[in-house]
C-alpha cells in the first residue's frame, strides 16, 4: 500500500513543526494508517515539497507548490484540532486510493 508522505513546516524547522508533526502522527497511529511525516523549515519548503504529497504548515505558505496545503495552527492551540486532523486524514485516504490504482 502507498505510504503518503507529509511535510510539516514552520519558520525555522525548530520548534512548532516538530510539535505539530508529533500531534499529527498520533492521529494517524489512532487510525492505524501508515504515513511518513517529516519536519522542515520554511526555507526548505520549495526544494523539498516535490518529494511529499501533503504540506502542513504553521506559517503562511508563500512558496510555489501544487501540493495540498493545510494550516498547522490548530495542532498547536488545540482549537479546531480534530477537524483539521479529519481533513488531513481524508486527504491521505484519497491519495492512498489514487496511488493504489496506479
Amino acid at each position: 500500500m502507498y505510504k503518503v508522505k507529509i511535510l510539516v513546516v514552520c519558520g525555522s524547522g525548530v520548534a512548532t513543526s516538530m510539535h505539530a508533526a508529533f500531534k499529527l502522527q498520533q492521529y494517524f497511529d489512532e487510525e492505524k494508517i501508515l504515513v511518513h511525516i517529516d519536519g522542515a523549515g520554511n526555507n526548505e519548503l520549495e526544494s523539498r515539497a516535490p518529494n511529499y504529497d501533503i504540506i502542513v504548515s504553521t506559517t503562511m505558505v508563500t512558496a510555489n507548490t501544487d501540493k495540498p496545503v493545510f494550516s498547522a495552527i490548530a495542532l498547536l492551540t488545540g482549537i479546531g484540532e480534530k477537524e483539521l486532523a479529519a481533513e488531513v486524514i481524508a486527504k491521505v485516504k484519497e491519495i492512498m486510493q489514487e496511488k493504489g490504482d496506479e
Binding site: 514552520c10 519558520g11 525555522s12 524547522g13 525548530v14 520548534a15 512548532t16 516538530m18 510539535h19 508529533f22 520554511n42 504548515s57 504553521t58 506559517t59 503562511m60 494550516s71 498547522a72 495552527i73 498547536l76 492551540t77 488545540g78 482549537i79 484540532e81
Partner: protein
Amino acid sequence: MSDLLIDVENILVNDTVQNHEEIIRKLGTLLHNNHYVKDTYTQAVLDREIIFPTGLQTTTAGFAIPHTDAEHVIKSTVAVATLDTPVIFKAMGNPEADISVTVVMMLAISDPKKVVDTLRKVISVLENEVTIEKLVKATTKLEIQSAFNEHMSNISD
C-alpha cells in the same frame, strides 16, 4: 532528565510593557545577562517575529512564543512573561491578524534534537487550560515556574 529547565531568573510576572518589541527586549536581556543566549539573540528574535510572527490564540489567553535559530543560543531554556495589560503580536500563519497576548514564552533552543520532547511539552501548555489559568493568575515567579514544572511532569513522554 531533561536539559531544558525554566530558570526563575528568566521570569517576569504581571509585567507592564508598551508593545511586543519591549517584552521581547526585556526577556532577551534577562536571557543574555543569565548567560543563556549570545548578544545577537534579541535582534534575531525581533527580526524573525516580523517574517514569522508567533502570536497564538488559545481558548483562554493570547500567547506568543518568539524564538530564533540555534546559532544565537548558548544553553536551551524558556523565558516566560505574564503581562499586566496585553500587547499585540501578529498571528502565527496569518500576519494580517492581531493576537492580544497575555503570556509570552520566549524559546532559546541551542540543539533542537536534544530537547525535542521537552520543547514539545512546553508548547503543549497552549492546549492546557488548567496550566494557562495558573500562569495568568500567578503573582510570583515561583508560581509560574511551578505551573510549568507541574505541567511538564503531568505530560507523558
